[in-house]
């Protein structure tokens, strides 16, 4: 099982790197030509720009684009130095869905590549005032996150109720029997072997992380409403999770955890001095690696699919779809696998870090991890 997983993973990594190598040249070429002809392209309205199209699909936005010229307006909440300001995101767009300036209560605002900025009267960005405005808008990603939260709460409260309704001793049925094996998988394969004795205390946390990542990964794969967002591929999402994992790990860290960081037992004092900064870097490197891994994996999948679809528009022929659509389907399948795999890996590593932080060391100089001790 473990071996199979590992070989599957290496296969995935291989295919990913092969494909990225294939297409990175393409994208780089696109990028350089775009840069060279930047001013000429900007003057042509409606000209197709691959980088902007892909980034537009991956990035957050103030309104939720549904189809054509229809968007779901979302509330914009701004914390400025003069006070809080709220208005609908519909005000930030003209009828062609191009950003336009909106005169708010305190300043004039306009979005540039998805980011809201304060503009001067001659519609140039006022960087000084923009840095004073904090954007807490319910953006597309936040709305999608709320939708995924609602789905999670509905699903799991229903499942919890069916345990009560059907009785604890009877076999699961329906949705319950779909969810229970996943919960058991997280408990028996992720939490129990990695956290150790006190795994039960961390089960709600580990399960929440797993299912939040899982559902947002899958919702991100759906190309239309309520999917079509890139929640788990946004660095703010993975950063938030990484910070929470960092806090949980380090707030629960016991004496021996800190001792192993700052004064490695059983070593020569010189070695102890040498290891302390390395271990301290490790404390921060772990959540950062969690953050980048999830963000990069999900975003890479989306970029690949979008690039493949964009090939049709680059070649300006419908025959390009003969190649790009099967490839996009193939990448989509890999994305579906990666969606689960990344949720699993994030949860696995988080529980491993928790396990390291709360692990009891019985003898000095015992540096082996005791994950599988029951």
């Amino acid at each position: 099982m473990d071996m199979a997983f590992r070989s599957l993973k290496s296969l995935l990594v291989l295919s990913f790197s092969m494909l990225t190598m294939l297409f990175s040249n393409n994208l780089l070429a696109q990028d350089s030509t775009h840069n060279n002809t930047a001013h000429t392209q900007e003057t042509h309205e409606g000209e197709f720009n691959v980088t902007e199209t892909i980034l537009g699909h991956i990035q957050d936005d103030h309104s939720w684009h549904l189809w054509g010229h229809t968007s779901l307006p979302l509330p914009v909440i701004l914390y400025t130095d003069k006070g809080i300001e709220c208005f609908s995101s519909a005000n930030l767009m003209d009828e062609h869905h191009h950003p336009k300036a909106y005169q708010g209560k305190y300043y004039t605002y306009q979005t540039f590549k998805g980011k809201l900025k304060v503009v001067n009267t001659d519609s140039t960005i006022n960087t000084e005032l923009s840095s004073k405005v904090w954007d807490f808008s319910i953006t597309k990603n936040v709305a999608a996150l709320f939708i995924s939260m609602t789905i999670l709460i509905l699903v799991f409260v229903t499942v919890a109720k069916s345990y009560k309704k059907r009785g604890e001793k009877s076999a699961p049925k329906g949705l319950q029997s779909f969810i229970e094996p996943i919960i058991l998988f997280v408990r028996d394969e992720v939490a129990k072997p990695n956290i150790g004795h006190h795994y039960a205390k961390y089960m709600p946390f580990v399960l929440t992380i797993f299912f939040v990542i899982l559902i947002n990964n899958y919702l991100g794969m759906i190309p239309f409403f309520p999917g079509g967002t890139n929640v788990s591929g946004n660095i703010a999402f993975t950063l938030a999770l990484a910070i929470i994992v960092f806090l949980v790990v380090n707030l629960n860290g016991n004496k021996s955890y800190w001792e192993h960081i700052f004064w490695m037992p059983g070593m020569h004092w010189g070695m102890k001095l040498f290891l302390a900064p390395i271990e301290l870097i490790g404390v921060f490197a772990r959540p950062i690696s969690l953050m980048i891994r999830l963000f990069a994996n999900v975003t890479a999948g989306h970029i690949l699919v979008l690039s493949l679809i964009c090939l049709i528009f680059i070649f300006k022929t419908v025959f390009a779809s003969a190649i790009s659509v099967p490839f996009a389907v193939f990448i989509g399948l890999i994305e579906a696998l990666v969606a689960f795999l990344q949720a699993y890996i994030f949860t696995l590593l988080s529980s491993m870090y928790i396990g390291m932080a709360i692990e009891e060391h019985h003898t000095a100089g015992d540096h082996d991890p005791h994950y599988n001790e029951d």
Binding site: D135, T208, T299
Partner: protein, 169 residues
């Protein structure tokens, strides 16, 4: 700056805020309303299954022990039966032998008694015969003595006749 070049790698403060808040809220809602009851139910079911399994194992062991005990009892009963049969056989053999011995001694005794009785009778008869023979001899002698006195020839005939008579007797 590299971070400014790529907008994807630049976390948005508002998004970070909402993501953190949403996760914490979701965590507490799910922990209270879903994870605790679900994990409790799964745990109690697993405990129930474990308990049932261990109980079944115990009952099985008890059954095996009972079967063993039964087997032992049966074995003991068989042995006892064998002993009983052996004893009964010995008893009966002894009884038969005793009866035979008794019969033999009785028979011997009866035979001996009969022998004695026969001997007594024989002796009595012999005595009787002797007595009768004596009486006859005396009688004959008397008659002979009387006849001698009359005729000699007659006398001899008579003796002969008497002698014949004796033979007949």
């Amino acid at each position: 700056m590299l971070l400014e070049i790529n907008p994807l790698a630049l976390p948005d403060i508002g998004l970070l805020f909402w993501n953190t808040v949403a996760f914490i809220v979701l965590f507490f809602i799910l922990r209270a309303m879903a994870w605790k009851p679900i994990l409790k139910a799964i745990k109690s079911r697993e405990d129930g299954i474990d308990e049932a399994l261990s109980k079944a194992e115990k009952v099985k062991a008890e059954m095996a022990q009972l079967a063993n005990e039964n087997e032992a009892l049966l074995q003991k009963a068989r042995e006892e039966r064998a002993v009983l049969i052996k004893e009964a056989k010995e008893q009966s053999d002894k009884m038969v032998a005793d009866a035979k011995d008794k019969a033999k001694t009785e028979y011997d005794r009866i035979v001996a008694d009969a022998q004695i009785a026969i001997n007594q009778q024989k002796n009595a008869a012999l005595t009787d015969v002797k007595n009768q023979v004596g009486a006859l001899v005396i009688e004959i002698s008397e008659k002979i003595l009387r006849k001698e006195l009359s005729d000699k020839a007659e006398q001899e005939n008579y003796i002969k006749q008497l002698a014949e008579e004796v033979k007949l007797n």
